[in-house]
């Protein structure tokens, strides 16, 4: 079976632009979370977020496209530039063996909200004609394919917070099946707009620790009170192993397995016993042909809500049995905020770099153990550990789950 390897990584996040800056923030425990600045937030319950700062779209996008695209598209194009530079891969135009597969939860809702205000004031005849291609969830993937003249498969997978794990898994399947030799894959999201943020706010899933933004987000901690929204994009250059070797590419890790599952309990709540999430992990491990003890680190979905962290803990126990307590587990969402449709790709980035750097990142702000969450969540500081394989979870509203397994490249 053909293998798929990661040869380039691009990241635009609240905690850094480019994977090196981001990784430094992760290792130093420097959170990108702060007060919301993109719109007035005084009347919201939650007033903090991981906003991307210092992003200069003119470095990455043609001037005309900057005016005609939303942040999620701009972030994705920026991250694609960074990933391709990192991989030293020059994409030959019009190749049909190259694809784009992104995850994105909700698309250009910021522009939709602006147009809604115009509609309310002036009526239907004043909605900008560019609205559809700007708002559509696949706008980012469409523009990436157009800019780099990519003629292979072009998909956008929208399954809320698991979107980009499904995108990476689908890219893996494309390479294994021979449909593509190179796939630009990952995720992008920016939902930092007043109405959409309010929708999450009234759903009461976000932290209320507004006075201490950098300490607010605390996955698996007993005092966790929800997630903090992030935004950004993470894009990988995923290549067929032989293709990467032929051009002498540097390889970070192999994407070795993809698992997916669905729960039948509730749309917004995972099965409390962790069954559906464990089925996702088991499926990914089987796909990677790895034994339980091969996994040296788990990047948890770790949203920091009471119910998710508990059910994920139970799922890990159900999957790994007696090994569960020996496996270091962390969530780096307190560094970047929860990047929603890009969260899976962010987890895969961490799980990839953990192998590449032989370092397991810690869970920032984890201080008070929860008796119900009794695994090793890597408190305090990162650990230097050589890793053979890692696993990264992404679970989503809609009760769907996706897991990616990364492995040190084997010839």
């Amino acid at each position: 079976m053909k293998k798929a390897v990661i040869t380039g990584i691009g990241a635009i996040t609240s905690a850094g632009i480019g994977w090196k800056m981001l990784w430094n923030s992760v290792i130093r425990g420097e959170s990108g979370i702060g007060p919301v600045s993109l719109f007035p937030s005084q009347r919201y319950r939650t007033r903090i977020a991981g906003e991307v700062k210092n992003f200069d779209a003119t470095l990455y996008l043609p001037e005309k496209l900057i005016d005609n695209s939303d942040r999620f598209t701009q972030f994705a194009i920026g991250a694609t530039h960074l990933a391709l530079d990192d991989s030293r891969l020059t994409l030959t135009p019009n190749r049909r063996d190259t694809g784009v597969i992104l995850g994105c939860g909700m698309g250009g809702l910021s522009f939709f909200e602006q147009q809604s205000a115009i509609f309310a004031k002036k009526g239907p005849g004043f909605i900008r004609p560019t609205s559809v291609p700007r708002i559509m969830t696949n706008a980012a993937a469409a523009h990436i394919a157009a800019l780099w003249k990519i003629r292979g498969p072009n998909l956008t997978i929208s399954t809320a917070c698991s979107s980009s794990n499904h995108a990476i898994g689908t890219a893996l399947d494309m390479i294994r099946s021979g449909r593509a030799k190179v796939v630009l894959c990952g995720g992008t999201e920016s939902l930092m707009s007043p109405i959409t943020f309010a929708a999450f706010d009234t759903l009461r899933v976000m932290s209320l620790q507004n006075e201490t933004p950098k300490q607010a987000y605390k996955p698996f901690d007993r005092n966790r009170d929800g997630f903090v929204m992030g935004e950004g994009a993470v894009i990988f250059v995923l290549e067929e192993q032989a293709h990467a070797h032929e051009r002498g590419a540097s390889i970070y890790a192999e994407v070795a397995g993809y698992g997916a599952s669905n729960g039948t309990y509730k749309i917004l709540t995972a099965e409390p016993d962790g069954l559906e999430a464990s089925e996702s992990m088991e499926s990914a491990l089987e796909d990677a042909s790895l034994a339980l003890q091969d996994i040296g680190y788990i990047h948890a979905h770790g949203t920091g809500t009471q119910s998710n962290d508990l059910s994920e803990t139970l799922a890990i126990k159900k999957t790994f049995g007696v090994h569960a307590k020996k496996i270091p587990i962390s969530s780096t969402k307190p560094i970047t905020g929860h990047m929603l449709g890009a969260a899976g790709a962010m987890g895969v980035l961490i799980s990839t770099l953990a192998i590449h750097m032989s370092v397991i990142p810690h869970t920032l702000n984890y201080e008070t153990p929860d008796p119900a969450c009794d695994l090793d969540y890597v408190p305090g500081q990162p650990r230097h550990v050589p890793l053979k394989a890692t696993l990264s979870n992404a679970f989503a509203f809609g009760s769907n789950n996706a897991t990616i397994v990364l492995r040190q490249e084997k010839l």
Partner: protein
């Protein structure tokens, strides 16, 4: 685009040309003096179909007129747009 510019409702020929130049230039990321009366919207200025729709809508807003699909399709040169806008503005004046 700044709405204050678009709202310059005027029938003076020079002003009409100026407003249209600004709208087209803004949409196509060009300088207003690159937008000549004899320029063709698509062939010379590189407007795509979506650009044309945005330009039509901005002109409708700026002059408070309506441009039908049939009229829009006839607009090849910038001069065609100017002529159409002037005709519409005159109609408006006659109607008081």
């Amino acid at each position: 685009m700044k709405k204050s510019n678009e709202k310059n409702k005027t029938s003076k020929k020079a002003d009409v040309i100026l407003v249209i130049q600004k709208i087209v230039a803004h949409q196509l990321k060009k300088k207003p003096d690159q937008i000549m009366l004899q320029s063709r919207l698509k062939e010379d200025l590189g407007a795509e179909s979506l650009d044309a729709l945005e330009i039509i809508m901005s002109i409708e807003e700026a002059f408070d007129i309506q441009i039908s699909e049939v009229e829009a399709r006839k607009a090849i040169f910038i001069q065609d747009i100017v002529n159409f806008v002037e005709t519409e503005l005159k109609k408006g004046e006659l109607l008081g």
